[in-house]
């Protein structure tokens, strides 16, 4: 069934000359940018990998801009100015987005610190001498108990 539908859609594309896909020139920079920009009509997919028309139109725009001589940063900024930083699959290494990069290692170090502190604290408690027994002998009641025990033995 699927293959029949696929064959049908291929036949439809072949029959409609206007719908023929445009020849895509291999452009490594455009492809790299395509992997970094989020497709706005998909769920967390880069425009370079999405089959949606919108993503393909965006890819086409990326290629055109690169052909016009725009740099990678200029092209990325163009999309950020229209879709916001949301369009970047990898957050920027500046401003508020920097937190995304800084917080995980900081949290990891803090967690490690807490574990080390906890282990040291437990060790210190374990190594601490127990309550001085000698001091307890001053208690006249204990002295009597001890004496009576010794007598029993």
């Amino acid at each position: 069934m699927t293959s029949a539908l696929f064959a049908l859609s291929l036949a439809a594309v072949a029959a409609a000359p206007d719908a023929a896909p445009k020849a895509v020139v291999h452009d490594p920079v455009a492809e790299q940018i395509g992997r970094e920009l989020r497709c706005p009509v998909c769920q967390g997919m880069p425009i370079g990998e999405s089959p949606s028309e919108m993503a393909q139109a965006m890819m086409q725009r990326v290629r055109e801009m690169h052909t016009e001589g725009k740099s990678k940063d200029e092209i990325t900024d163009y999309f950020v100015q229209r879709y916001g930083e949301w369009v970047l699959l990898e957050p920027k290494h500046s401003g508020f987005s920097l937190l995304v990069w800084v917080l995980p290692p900081v949290a990891l170090l803090a967690g490690l610190g807490i574990v080390i502190a906890y282990v040291r604290h437990s060790r210190t408690r374990r190594d601490e001498p127990t309550a001085p027994v000698a001091a307890a002998t001053d208690d006249p009641y204990l002295q009597r108990v001890r004496k009576s025990l010794e007598e029993d033995v």
Binding site: E53, M54, A57, M58, R61, R82, G84, W86, I114, H121
Partner: protein
């Protein structure tokens, strides 16, 4: 020490819960993303009308403009179309309405409008260039542009008449007097 550890863990767990509950919402719903174009100059366009002739953003300046992106395959657009028709007639002398056909063929767009009518110009956007310029992530999406050509509001989804009035009326009040 125990209190410090407990406090740090409580803050960490609260932060994690917050991130899981709200932090990823925008990532998965493109339409929840606020437009970065608000309060910025509207991207210029010069598009061909479905029935011939050209419309540019520059020639519409002076009055508030409602730019509506729609498509014949979009179900919510159908209900919105009736509302837009009514609003365009109601604000006919005070605001411009333009529709931009989004990822559709001129034939399908024409046949869609044949039964429904069109009280305002419908423009073709080959290669979705203008849709990309406006940061469109789906249809219907509408932009309210003031008389000076600044985007004042973006609305995602089908608009009711009250929504159109709510966003358009403040722009009418501040529109320059020398309207064409």
């Amino acid at each position: 020490m125990k209190h410090v550890v407990f406090g740090v863990m409580l803050v960490a767990v609260a932060a994690l819960v917050w991130v899981l509950a709200f932090g990823f919402r925008e990532s998965y719903d493109p339409q929840a993303v606020p437009s970065v174009l608000e309060n910025k100059p509207a991207p210029p366009f010069a598009l061909t009308k479905l029935d011939g002739g050209q419309v540019t953003l520059a020639e519409l300046r002076g009055r508030p403009i409602v730019v509506n992106f729609w498509s014949s395959w979009c179900e919510p657009c159908k209900a919105e179309h009736r509302t837009l028709q009514a609003a365009a007639k109601m604000f006919a002398d005070r605001a411009h309405f333009v529709g931009v056909v989004y990822q559709d063929t001129p034939e399908l767009a024409r046949s869609y409008l044949q039964g429904r009518g069109s009280a305002f110009p419908q423009l073709l956007d080959p290669d979705s260039r203008v849709a990309i310029d406006y940061g469109v992530a789906g249809v219907p999406e509408s932009f309210f542009i003031d008389g000076d050509g600044v985007v004042r509001q973006k609305f995602v989804g089908p608009m009711s008449y009250d929504v159109i009035r709510q966003f358009l009326e403040p722009l009418l009040a501040s529109a320059p007097r020398s309207t064409p």
